[in-house]
């Protein structure tokens, strides 16, 4: 052994940072705890706790005469929730959320497919920019812009007029339920704006799912005699399904809870979000507002349960 040989064990690091490194190396679980505690506290106490408190409110009732909350456990608020007018609101919102989700998936799939399979280099950058850019601008500005676009004096009517297709627009607006005086005060208008605003939340998960599908699976299907339609049905779609479900969770739940879009663009009939807003703000009926917020949670729970039962997550 020479006098200049390095010792086998190096001396301990100096300074508090060095000691901290050594300490955490010896106690790896402690590091995990330190890193996870703040977010878990936030999620567990602040977020879930608040949600729980809200749910609790739905089992209280309001004194119709004094307007004060009666803190006794009761199902009266839920009985009120299931009244015809309120069921109307729920049905309207769920139908809108479902059509918005299906339309988003149908529009998003080809875009996501192109981005995952073909786009490369600067085209990929352009894709991300195109999808994300609308998310950078203010939500309210976008919706008011759409109100102008869809208005009777708006650019859309003008385009239809120049294309001599005004009769088509008028025919559509003459339809019951989806029609109205103009697009900006019809369910069709609400639907268009919802799809526009939530589309990025559908495109990105589908694109991520498709990106993970190896190209040779598509070749293998074709090689085994699968036509493009069969390859889509038996290989591509099942493998993209987790992405579609993930995207639909966004579009479905965001539509269920939104109260701004239907207020600005659409008929004056209420959606769940607006009902919550009205009940807890104007009417001061916090128990009913809380009961309304339970609806999307229950619907999403049932939706995920069904998606799992149908094997939507098997390819994960």
């Amino acid at each position: 052994m020479t006098a200049f040989a390095e010792p086998l064990v190096l001396p301990e690091r100096r300074g508090p940072a060095g000691r901290l490194s050594d300490f955490f190396w010896k106690h790896p679980h402690l590091l995990l705890t330190v890193l996870l505690a703040p977010p878990l506290l936030w999620l567990g106490v602040v977020y879930l706790g608040a949600l729980f408190a809200l749910l609790l409110q739905s089992f209280f009732s309001i004194d119709d005469f004094s307007g004060l909350i009666n803190y006794e456990f009761t199902l009266a608020t839920y009985r009120q929730l299931l009244s015809e007018a309120n069921l109307d609101i729920i049905l309207r919102t769920v139908l809108m959320a479902a059509t918005v989700t299906v339309a988003s998936a149908v529009i998003a799939f080809p875009i996501a497919y192109y981005a995952a399979r073909y786009a490369q280099g600067k085209w990929k950058v352009l894709f991300y920019l195109g999808v994300m850019l609308p998310l950078w601008s203010s939500y309210l500005v976008k919706i008011y812009a759409w109100k102008l676009i869809l208005a009777k004096e708006g650019i859309l009517t003008w385009i239809f007029e120049k294309l001599h297709l005004l009769w088509l627009l008028d025919a559509w607006l003459a339809l019951p339920v989806v029609g109205g005086n103009s697009l900006s005060v019809s369910y069709t208008g609400t639907f268009i704006v919802f799809v526009y605003v939530w589309l990025p939340f559908m495109i990105l998960p589908i694109q991520a799912a498709l990106e993970r599908v190896p190209g040779n699976l598509i070749e293998a299907s074709s090689d085994l005699g699968g036509t493009p339609a069969q390859t889509f049905r038996h290989v591509l779609f099942p493998l993209a399904l987790p992405g579609i479900v993930a995207g639909s969770i966004f579009t479905f739940s965001l539509t269920l809870g939104d109260y701004i879009i239907p207020q600005i663009v659409g008929s004056s009939r209420l959606f769940i979000g607006q009902a919550v807003y009205a009940q807890q703000g104007t009417a001061g009926n916090i128990p009913l507002a809380a009961a309304f917020t339970v609806v999307p949670i229950v619907i999403m729970g049932a939706y995920l349960f069904m998606a799992k039962r149908m094997g939507a997550f098997d390819a994960l």
């Binding site: 293998a220 074709s222 085994l224 005699g225 390819a315």
Partner: protein, 332 residues
């Protein structure tokens, strides 16, 4: 003899890259045909042209006498075993194997039976309910084989099917593939970069380089009589004698190949050719000693039986070989 696959001056260019450049070949029905070459030599592109994943930019392809250009993969009775197997991860093994029958509209019971028979053929009976992720690499390889063969293809294409297996499994699969091909009588087209695999399995070999076929022939011929320097280097370990040595030995060709096993360190016998040089290196390889002899700057490797004594480094020696062991080559 029916021609299974015919390539008539076929090219596949990707922009300026000539992946396949004027390839002619004719594969007979029932033949075990290997396409051998380094990566990027065009062998896999040729396979993809047969499968229909690529379309030629020039030339003409026929499969069993029918024009293949413009025919999509799903309308060719050709099936592929992919390099990394490409099993469908969301389907059971049985559904994977039955996939080809399912898309062709074969009934559920019939295709289940056919798939189980195919699994038994590749020695995986009873594995049908598992998922691809639960199988080992060797087992997945067999499933891929069963999935292709269940369709009774006229030509089976195999893209480096043994590349991902370890040595022992690879040797076992080589034998199994060979006997499977014999018993089924299906034309096998096999892509590999492993010359040992190609030599031991194939009826004929096409050696690829730079998008062209360098040599096409039986394994013995390709090994013993390489036509170009590339084939001599890539297949086996032949010596390439430069032009000045060829001239000395009475050949007009720009170079010639000479296998190390054909040379002995001795004075020439009747009708034999000889060269003289000095021993520049030797190493013990078990059954033989590899002795490198420097002949006027050209290094000639000799495989000398281990029983013979090895001449000392730097000592002058005479090497001799039968005249018909020297094969002229086309390039320098």
């Amino acid at each position: 003899m029916t021609t299974a696959v015919l390539f008539d001056n076929v090219s596949r260019h990707f922009g300026a890259v000539r992946a396949v450049d004027g390839v002619n070949l004719e594969i007979a029905e029932g033949e075990f045909f290997a396409m051998l070459g380094p990566s990027g030599s065009g062998k896999t592109t040729c396979l993809r042209l047969m499968a229909g994943f690529e379309q030629p930019t020039g030339g003409h392809i026929e499969i069993f006498g029918e024009t293949a250009e413009g025919v999509p993969p799903y309308r060719r009775s050709v099936n592929t075993v992919f390099q990394d197997y490409a099993l469908f991860p969301h389907l059971s093994i049985l559904d994977n194997v039955a996939y080809g029958l399912m898309v062709k509209g074969v009934g559920r019971e019939e295709r289940r039976k056919a798939a189980e028979d195919a699994l038994a053929m590749v020695k995986l009976p009873g594995y049908g309910t598992r998922r691809p992720g639960q199988l080992s690499g060797g087992q997945r390889q067999r499933v891929a084989l069963a999935r292709a063969l269940v369709n009774k293809p006229k030509v089976l294409l195999l893209d480096e099917p043994l590349g991902a297996l370890d040595l022992k499994l690879r040797e076992q699969m080589q034998e199994e593939l060979k006997s499977l091909q014999k018993s089924l009588g299906i034309t096998f087209v096999f892509v590999t970069h492993d010359q040992g695999e190609a030599l031991s399995m194939a009826d004929r070999i096409a050696v690829f380089n730079d998008g062209r076929i360098q040599q096409l022939g039986r394994p013995e011929d390709v090994y013993k009589q390489p036509k170009t320097r590339f084939v001599a280097d890539f297949v086996g370990s032949s010596n390439v004698l430069p032009q000045k040595l060829c001239q000395r030995l009475g050949l007009k060709s720009p170079s010639a190949s000479l296998r190390p096993e054909a040379i002995s360190i001795s004075t020439p016998w009747d009708g034999a050719l000889s060269l003289s040089g000095t021993v520049s290196a030797h190493s013990f390889l078990g059954a033989v000693n590899r002795v490198v002899v420097d002949v006027d700057g050209a290094r000639v490797a000799v495989a000398s039986p281990a029983a013979l004594t090895v001449p000392a480094l730097g000592s002058p020696v005479t090497i001799s070989f039968a005249a018909d062991e020297l094969h002229p080559m086309e390039d320098a």
